[in-house]
């Protein structure tokens, strides 16, 4: 559509055309009040995009305010491209997690790829070199052909981008549940490193300074992506969705290398990725956060297609684009810097002192609105929250132990559950060792990367068991944080900060908003107790298919500091003869468990209880023991419980097995998902020191060289006795087997 054919101000109001852009009548009225006149088509587009849930957090803000965001390590909390934490020696870790759920539901390869691309730009726009990627994925259980397609393509898309740009994917998780059927969650996290003096921010300051556009040209792709991602997708509507933006990791690498070189230059004032809502959000946010205005000549924006309107250019979500503000007079030097990398950079505007975002096209002002109004003055909604009826019902249910006749058969079946089974099919497609610093690759509790040139490391993980969150959002939120911290501790790292990706259904449903509110409260509690503040994050609402929301899934991305690489510990058994200890006792916790889902085809009852003080005490004790070199291997107990965790310790330990004796009722001892539990192995000579350090640890047996997993119960009964080979083959081949099924 050419600008001539755009509806005029009156038509927009009278025909309520703003509604098609996702704006409500009240919001449109508010825009009218702010401007003191009716907005034109371009201006309406700007407001609708910047005031979308995705950009403005208008429904989630009141909840997000309660997260603990400060701590002695925090250098930059939420609000910038990514959060920053101090890791000592004048270095800092920079990280952020983002969702790309809606695009991945439609075009999974492109959607997942551009998700990785976007979050990488968030990190390098802060001046940090990205060093690792983590992904957190949720799909239907692979019995449906569409879900298999979505999973295969999303994994290939992530691989194409991460491998193409040459940044290793070192950790991640995949959960399979039919609540995600046709509505997958694709969350990507990027972690970068910088020296303190190189921190950059997205600010457009200094009157007369120059606004430079760098990177890919602007096309008509992804227009109104931000609005779309805040809307529910019904399968029938897919055909009407806007053209998706494609990704180009090759160009991104060039843009990244150029931006990182620019970050060292004193010509730079600020830079920001053109992410959701593209040029609109980048320009409005940079101007607003610096307290200035920006004027841009839209004719100068590099364009991929002819006849583009200002509206289209401002709302395009073409990928691999950066908005940069440089000192007046230094433009050519910056343009030359980009040219060296083969990247186009063009001066398109200047910083002004009138705090307006002003767009000029063909010599005429086509939009003129206060930058603050776009970036800061979106309405804030206090959505209605209501406890869903299922919650009371589940809470009042008496938890009983499931009846299991065949213990070994049940263990094998659990190992084949895709959520528990080996994810090698997925992570073998990711180059996990690029840039030669990967100490622990995917497959252990957390990924660990060496901090270049030091003997320190960063451990990273992402976690969320959404079944627990559904049954009891507050408890589930706590568990998500605790589990992430457990995974870091088991890897020898001190948890230092959190990024999150809060994936929920429609906030207009009071029950969904209640889930959001309660799980955020649980997350806040756990972050405080475990001393891991939230430094960045993302909210993805309206994840529903045909009106049914996915389970509430507040994914927690956590980064830990490995003070000395000799502390790095992995899941696998190390030496025959080592002692096996379990930390924490099993109680009957089957609500939301993998066993319950497997036996009953659904979940119900209470989520496992968690006592955060017990959690913190155990984590601190175990970490200290690991740092004192008392521990050979460590893993936490999660989905599937004790028996699954014990097997996982044997799977990558060539020739080793286990012989253990456990107390209490067999089904509970083997399969319950009681929280705050760990399995560790210790050399015999360290047993005394370890027992003194970790008071809750109970010795249960030995690592053997028999290549069998033997679990004995009370009174000399043998509960499970099977070769590692047999168990491993069930676990290892399960996902590929499901993908190859024809059903």
């Amino acid at each position: 559509m050419s600008a001539m054919h755009e509806p005029n101000e009156q038509q927009i109001k009278e025909e309520k055309l703003y509604r098609q852009m996702g704006m409500t009548d009240e919001e449109f009225g508010r825009v009218e009040d702010i401007l003191g006149r009716l907005p034109n088509y371009t201006e309406t587009g700007l407001f609708s995009a910047l005031w979308s849930e995705h950009c403005s957090y208008k429904s989630s803000k009141p909840i997000l305010r309660n997260f603990p965001t400060e701590g002695e390590r925090v250098l930059q909390g939420p609000g910038e491209g990514a959060g920053i934490v101090d890791i000592g020696d004048n270095q800092a870790a920079v990280f952020k997690m983002e969702s790309h759920n809606s695009p991945s539901a439609i075009e999974p390869f492109i959607g997942a790829a551009t998700g990785a691309g976007g979050v990488l730009r968030d990190v390098f726009s802060m001046g940090a070199r990205p060093v690792a990627l983590v992904n957190s994925l949720r799909f239907g259980d692979l019995t449906d052909a569409r879900d298999r397609f979505l999973f295969e393509e999303a994994v290939a898309g992530i691989a194409s981008y991460g491998n193409g740009i040459g940044i290793p994917t070192i950790a991640g998780e995949v959960q399979f549940d039919n609540c995600y059927s046709k509505r997958p969650l694709v969350n990507a996290m990027a972690v970068g490193l910088l020296n303190h003096e190189d921190i950059q921010k997205g600010v457009a300051a200094g009157v007369g300074n120059t606004v430079i556009y760098a990177g890919a040209t602007t096309g008509r792709d992804g227009i109104h992506g931000a609005t779309m991602s805040s809307a529910e997708v019904t399968v029938e509507e897919e055909a009407e969705l806007p053209v998706m933006q494609g990704g180009d990791p090759f160009l991104e690498k060039l843009v990244m290398d150029a931006c990182l070189e620019l970050a060292k230059s004193d010509a730079l004032i600020g830079m920001q990725d053109m992410g959701a809502a593209g040029l609109s959000s980048a320009s409005a946010e940079m101007a607003s956060s610096a307290g200035y205005g920006i004027e841009m000549n839209m004719n100068l924006v590099p364009q991929r297609e002819s006849g583009m309107t200002a509206y289209e250019m401002m709302l395009s979500e073409s990928q691999e684009r950066m908005l940069i503000v440089v000192k007046k007079g230094r433009e050519q030097e910056v343009i030359d810097l980009f040219a060296k990398y083969g990247v186009e950079a063009v001066a398109i505007g200047k910083v002004t002192d009138d705090k307006m975002l002003r767009l000029v096209h063909h010599g005429e002002v086509v939009a003129e609105v206060p930058a603050d109004a776009l970036a800061e003055d979106a309405p804030v909604y206090h959505k209605k929250s209501e406890e869903p009826s299922y919650f009371k019902e589940f809470q009042s249910m008496e938890m009983t132990e499931p009846v299991v006749a065949d213990l070994k058969g049940t263990l094998v079946d659990l190992l084949k559950r895709p959520t528990i089974a080996s994810k090698e099919w997925a992570y073998s497609q990711f180059d996990s060792h690029a840039r030669r610093n990967t100490v622990v690759a995917p497959g252990s509790s957390a990924g660990v990367i060496r901090v270049d040139g030091t003997n320190k490391g960063l451990a990273m993980t992402s976690d969320c068991n959404s079944r627990y969150v559904y049954l009891d959002p507050e408890t589930g939120g706590k568990i998500a944080v605790a589990e992430a911290a457990r995974n870091l501790v088991c890897s020898g790292a001190e948890p230092i900060a959190v990024t999150d990706c809060l994936n929920f259904g429609s906030p207009d449903k009071p029950e969904v908003f209640w889930q959001f509110e309660r799980s955020a409260a649980g997350i806040s509690d756990a972050c405080r107790t475990l001393n891991a503040p939230v430094i960045s994050g993302n909210v993805s609402l309206s994840n529903e298919v045909n009106g049914v929301p996915v389970y509430p899934t507040p994914t927690i991305g956590m980064v830990g500091l490995v003070h000395d690489l000799s502390h790095v510990t992995t899941t696998s058994f190390k030496n025959a003869g080592d002692l096996i200890y379990v930390i924490g006792e099993a109680t009957q916790d089957f609500g939301g468990s993998e066993l319950q889902q497997m036996l009953e085809g659904d979940i119900s009852g209470q989520a496992p209880a968690i006592d955060l003080d017990v959690e913190a005490t155990r984590q601190q004790a175990l970490l200290a023991a690991i740092q004192n070199d008392l521990v050979e291997s460590a893993t936490d107990l999660s989905e599937g419980g004790f028996a699954v965790a014990l097997c996982e310790k044997a799977f990558d330990a060539e020739g080793l097995g286990a012989d253990v004796t456990i107390a209490g009722s067999a089904v509970t001892a083997l399969f319950s998902e009681t929280q705050s539990r760990f399995l560790v192995t210790v050399k015999e000579e360290n047993a005394k020191a370890f027992e003194a350090a970790v008071q809750d640890a109970v010795k249960i047996g030995n690592v053997t060289e028999t290549n069998r997993v033997v679990i004995r119960g009370e009174q000399d009964t043998v509960l499970i006795d099977e070769t590692v080979e047999e168990l491993r083959s069930a676990w290892k081949g399960a996902i590929e087997c499901l993908l190859n099924s024809e059903a």
């Binding site: 491998n163 040459g166 090759f250 690498k253 497609q429 060792h433 030669r436 100490v439």
Partner: protein, 228 residues
């Protein structure tokens, strides 16, 4: 000894190579940007892995059009060592410096991990620090790792001891003759698909790749002592 690391747009594993040579091997390496290449002053050229030109068209196909390739061919013809790893190997086959071509992995997907190789030739500049038939564990990461040569070339490679490394347990990706690394006729150019520069430190990927770089350095030192 001075190593050049020839960098194309998109060559991501240049840093891996730089680290292996400068910080672990203890020799001197320099990045050389492809269109400013002046290779004459160097003692060896490394063509690193990654995704030059985004692997558009075909991996290595666009890099072969770079002005650096003429220089590289001249450098190779002079008898000095040239090593291409991963995408660097693909570039060398595309430029006909090494025989063969790369197809999509048999399983069609990108694959990454560690793989066992058998050292077949221990007489070359690149392999003399290994034992004959030694098995080594080397990281790999590729989508076009399916090396193809025709029957006739395969026989010729075998006869002339030009197969430097094979996949010990067969090639999952489909490579002809399970070839993982191949030498040119003169023996001064090696292409290897797995990534030895990522296996030079115990804590990162093991040290099985280090003897390859030590071999290059050793031969250079011997030659330069004898010339002195």
């Amino acid at each position: 000894m001075k190593f050049a690391i020839l960098v194309f747009p998109g060559s991501g594993c240049d840093v891996d190579m730089y680290h292996a040579i400068n910080e672990v091997l203890g020799a001197e390496a320099e990045y050389v940007w492809h269109d400013e290449a002046e290779l004459a002053g160097f003692d060896a050229v490394m063509v690193p892995g990654g995704a030059s030109y985004g692997n558009y068209l075909r991996p290595g196909a666009l890099a072969k059009g770079s002005p650096a390739l003429e220089q590289l061919k001249a450098f190779a013809a002079s008898g000095k060592p040239v090593l291409g790893v991963g995408n660097g190997f693909q570039i060398l086959t595309e430029a006909n410096v090494l025989p063969g071509a790369f197809l999509l992995n048999k399983g069609l997907k990108f694959r990454s991990g560690k793989v066992k190789l058998t050292v077949q030739n221990t007489e070359s500049i690149f392999t003399e620090s290994y034992e004959k038939d030694q098995q080594i564990l080397i990281p790999f990461a590729h989508q076009y790792g399916n090396y193809y040569v025709d029957e006739e070339t395969l026989e010729e490679l075998k006869e002339n001891n030009r197969i430097a490394f094979t996949y010990t347990n067969g090639s999952v990706d489909g490579s002809t003759g399970h070839i993982a690394g191949v030498l040119n006729e003169q023996g001064n150019v090696l292409g290897i698909m797995p990534l030895p520069e990522r296996a030079v430190e115990e804590i990162i990927g093991g040290t099985d790749g280090l003897p390859l770089f030590k071999s290059i350095l050793k031969r250079w030192s011997e030659n330069n002592v004898s010339h002195a």
